[in-house]
Amino acid sequence: MLNDSILTLTTFVPAAGAVVVALLPRRGRIIQWFTLAVALLTFGLTLQLPAHYVYGHPGFQFEVDFPWISSPAIRYHLGVDGISVWLVVLTGFLAPLGVLASWKTINHRTKEFYFFFLLQQTAMIGVFVSLDMFLYYAFWELTLVPMAILISMFGRDRGTEAAIKFFIYTFLPSALLLVAIVWLYAKTGTFDFVRLQSILAQSSSSSSSAFPPQALFWASLAFLVAFAVKVPVFPLHAWLGDVFSEAPTAMAMVVAGKLGLYSILRFNLGLFPAQARQVAPWMIALAVIGILYGALVALVQKDMKRLAAFSTVSSLSFCILGIFTFAVSGLDGAIYQILNEGISVGALLLLVGFMYERYGTYEIGAYGGLAKRMPHLATLFVITGLSLIGLPLLNGFVGEFLILSGSFPGHVPWVAAATAGVILSAAYMLWMIQRVFYGTQSGMVTDLAVADMNFREHMAVWPIAVLMLLMGVASPLWMRAIDGAAVKLASPAPLVGMAVKQ
């Protein structure tokens, strides 16, 4: 019984919470407490998925599938597999931390903030669980709207500009995505992912294709561009720095990485395996450029948020590399690394946010010797930094190592270049840590007596720190679900069939 409704519940509990938030009075911290409760409830629900997941079963689980609108044929089809199950949990995990991070910083228009915050939760979970293209697209668009609004409303000083940049960058390519989805529908008469997958697989293995030559390629490209912007893949990353700088922490934590990368895995590799292999050389090149370029540019940033943005571009490019080399270990690592990025970048943004709350600046040069004043924050910052630069026994290493070692055969020069990224990442991260936390205390740090992290802030970061260690030493706990999906993506059945025929 629970298994039938769990995905629906998980998806819509936050939205229901949002409706209640809209009705709550603006008094005291009622809205915050309520949102926190909803977020925790949602997280509890998402945990049901791995708890009841049938490991070793590679298909979709917890499926719900019934017609919703007859014409056009839109179905209410939800389900998770190894790609998405942990992403749903990740989304649930980060939400309470996001509420804690916003507790003090968002003190005007709280109702609007938490309303859109919860709506965003529903949208993100919806993206991960939807197996109907129309439904998926609705959720995908829905992730953009609250984000843009919140960036605009709560931006630091150029909020509107950043929101518009975000909007233009992500909304316009999404229009292309819509065109492609609708075109597929017109061709096949279905929005259903599973059915589309089998139709496309058949058409690619039979010579009498229903699709005009090259048409599928362009359709897959429309998908890819929309997703690549959202990741973001080099050189489509121009929006990320502005969004990181302007967005409230709780939003910045979820804006990059997982949505785009998940969609690439699900649709580009799932629906268009042959086309994905066609563009693979380009994507591998962009990934390796992104790794090195992001790290080099991060090296010379003066602003911690911008540094975090380029660091993110660099590390997400590892995922792209792992995805487009189609090796099982590489895909495993890539999916794992999406989770790592979610939590580690989340922690980084939280900590940087705490510093901003105290000193009102992200400028690296303004800090110095902060470890003396805020030893706890410094410790957590160093742990987070080490996780991001892939220190063994922390989460980042597992992902990076599997990606690089899996991608290595057949792509030796590319992987060698990508591996050089581990040197650069250590350089920019440790250099920033040194300038902010070590050395002589800056005037600002000496003059402004601030307290170290308080209980609420500890509560927001420690769960992540523990998870970093846990994911660093016990990866099989996660990998046993991911594996099944990675194997399928690495060698989709129709491609195998094609090889046999040749």
Partner: protein
């Protein structure tokens, strides 16, 4: 897998980790005595375990392998366990690491007594023990890499212990980044091994190589050279050695433990551990030997003119590690490990005794301000003398035997040979020179600091250096060669692991004795000049430096290598990143291209500004309307087109 009951090897690294957690999480609230008790306890426990294992060693069936129930990484294509290995080589390393490590922990109790952040220091020290023990116990390259990067982290934290000091923070960061360059090689080597052997476990990789005696060079050379790159980072060899002298910014016990006795020898251990692989590539061995010999000579020349007592010892460490690499390159792995052990004794002692001197003089590190400490700190003097004689290769001190073994085997090895042997014996002279220079400047003549009240440290500092003093003298007697009336026990003990089929055959005793005579003579020459310049004719050294100003300034400035690296690599990289990538590409092209709309965006901005001035609902409404419009237009556009 075998009938030996479980030894619970995993406890050996995990115990110090518990110590780290206790002190790291609670230490700031605990009294100092409790902090040091915790740290000592969780270092003594693995020492006790290792001692027990050592006593039972002959009754164990070896090699003994232990796997934790859950693998670390497991995908259908790749699998890595938390696996630990015990064999004679591991045991030697375990004894050195836990033994010397424990002594240095004791020493630190006295040395760090008045430092702020006492608990932090001991937490980091225990963390180091965890990673170092993981490194030597690993049964596969991936677990070894855990220790490998982890000791780098501990070193980063400890070198930067005085983190408010800019130079300390700089040094910690520099060490980590240069080590990462080495790790880059280590990682690529692992990728190659996974690609060729499908595994990183020692038994699979070395087993596969052993089963295919026909495979020579080729990708094995590539793996060996990449591993060597990793080793040059960790063990401070050319070209990545420049971090080690700066790492002297850390507290002196750290220099003794990490930057002399244990961590920096990891590269030597790793090469010895993977000797099956290196043996298949004479080319790679040749490179190892050349790097070792070159580093030994190069660092010794720089060590001759340094004035900071710890920097002299740092260059000395680099130089001695060079000897170990030279031995590895000559395929004389047991000689390399032998020197690793004796060096751990005498170099740890040198640093601890130097720390005692620094302590006696209230923080003074400049040898020009020292002198005359022989009478004021006799225990430090006598123990330090033991170490000075040992490192200079004076019989019967420990260093004599190990260095002798290296030099002799270098001469007869096909991958090293007489030319590198000459480099080695010249370095013996230089070593004796800079060590006796240090000895004379520190302990002889009159004290050159005003108002100094030199005094010995507390017992916690003296007992460890006395124990090490004995070991620096007698530690080499475990490996006295047959030619000198010994039984070569050390090499025999390691034979099951390090035996090399093509090892140079033990030659006639006579020949080997002549090699010993030559190297002792070379050491005597170095001592003679140090005696001349720094005892009998003080002032002559300065005149000499003036006369050969060019050479002197080259050495004092360490051949300008730091400046060359900064100028040729760091500065151009930063320039490229700042002006070309960030300035031109990102700000210009990528953001500029994005502002296809820069203008239109501003227009839109104005529009939205007006919309936004109202209330949020209308704003959201606009977005919704836009999205819906887009959806409808495309949908109908397409359906019309298709129909």
């Amino acid at each position: 897998m075998n009938d030996t009951p479980s030894l619970h090897l995993w406890l050996i690294p995990v115990l110090p980790f518990i110590g780290f957690l206790l002190n790291g999480l609670l230490g700031s609230r605990l009294p100092k005595t409790l902090v040091s008790t915790i740290a000592l306890l969780f270092t003594a426990a693995p020492l006790a375990l290792v001692t027990i294992i050592a006593f039972r060693f002959t009754s164990l069936s070896l090699p003994y392998v232990e796997r934790l129930p859950m693998p670390w990484m497991a995908t259908p294509a790749f699998h890595a366990d938390f696996a630990f290995l015990l064999d004679p080589l591991t045991l030697v390393m375990l004894l050195v690491v836990t033994g010397v490590g424990f002594l240095i922990h004791i020493y630190s109790v006295g040395y760090m007594a008045h430092e702020e952040g006492y608990w932090r220091f001991f937490a980091y020290l225990n963390l180091f023990m965890f990673f170092m023990l993981t490194l030597v116990l690993a049964e596969n390259f991936l677990i070894m890499f855990v220790g490998w990067e982890g000791v780098g982290l501990a070193s980063y934290l400890l070198v930067g212990f005085y983190f408010l000091k800019e130079s300390a923070a700089d040094a910690g960061k520099k060490a980590f980044i240069l080590n990462r360059i080495g790790d880059f090689g280590f990682l690529l080597a692992m990728f190659l091994m996974i690609a060729h052997f499908g595994s990183l476990s020692f038994s699979s990789v070395f087993g596969a190589i052993s089963h295919h005696p026909e495979v020579q060079g080729g990708f094995l050379t590539a793996i060996a050279l990449l591993l060597l790159l990793g080793a040059t980072g960790k063990s401070a060899q050319i070209p990545l050695y420049i971090w080690l002298p700066d790492a002297m910014e850390g507290p002196t016990p750290v220099s003794a433990l990490i930057h002399a006795a244990t961590m920096v020898t990891a590269g030597v251990y790793m090469i010895a551990r993977s000797h099956v692989l290196f043996d298949r590539s004479p080319f790679a061995l040749g490179v190892v030997a050349i790097i070792g010999a070159a580093t030994a000579l190069f660092a010794a020349t720089v060590g001759m003119v340094q004035t900071d007592i710890k920097r002299v010892l740092a260059y000395s460490t680099i130089s001695q590690l060079g000897y170990m690499f030279l031995a590895c390159g000559a395929a004389a792995y047991s000689a390399a490990i032998f020197h690793l052990v004796t060096h751990a004794f005498f170099k740890a002692l040198l640093f601890l005794a130097a720390g005692s001197v620094i302590h006696a003089l209230g923080g003074q590190q400049d040898m020009r301000a020292m002198g005359g400490l022989r009478t004021a700190t006799p225990i430090t003097f006598w123990t330090m003398s033991s170490a000075v004689f040992a490192i200079s290769g004076v019989p019967p001190f420990s260093g004599f035997f190990s260095k002798d073994a290296i030099l002799y085997q270098t001469f007869v090895s096909p991958t090293a040979g007489p030319i590198l042997w000459v480099v080695g014996v010249v370095t013996v002279s230089l070593t004796a020179f800079y060590m006796f220079r240090l000895w004379y400047l520190t302990f002889f003549g009159a004290i050159r600091t005003k108002d100094a009240h030199p005094h010995e440290g507390p017992w916690s500092m003296l007992v460890p250096i006395m124990i090490l003093g004995v070991l620096a003298l007698a530690g080499g007697w475990i490996g006295i060669p047959k030619a000198l009336g010994g039984g070569d026990q050390f090499a025999h003990f390691l034979d099951p692991v390090l035996h090399v089929a093509s090892a140079p055959a033990s030659s006639s005793g006579n020949q080997e004795i002549w090699f010993s005579v030559i190297s002792v003579a070379m050491a005597a020459i170095g001592w003679f000049f140090a005696d001349l310049l720094y005892r009998r004719k003080p002032g002559m050294a300065d005149r000499l430096a003036e006369r050969a100003a060019g050479v002197y300034s080259l050495l004092v400035n360490k051949y300008w290598i730091d400046q060359i690296y900064t100028g040729l690599i760091v500065a151009p990289l930063l320039f490229l990143s700042r002006y070309l990538l960030w300035g031109a590409v990102d700000r210009g092209v990528i953001n500029g291209g994005g502002s296809l709309a820069a203008g239109s965006m501003r227009g839109l901005g104005a529009l939205v500004q007006r919309v936004q001035s109202g209330n949020i609902r209308s704003y959201a409404g606009w977005l919704a309307v836009g999205a819906a419009a887009l959806l409808l237009i495309t949908y109908f556009g397409f359906s019309m087109h298709l129909s």
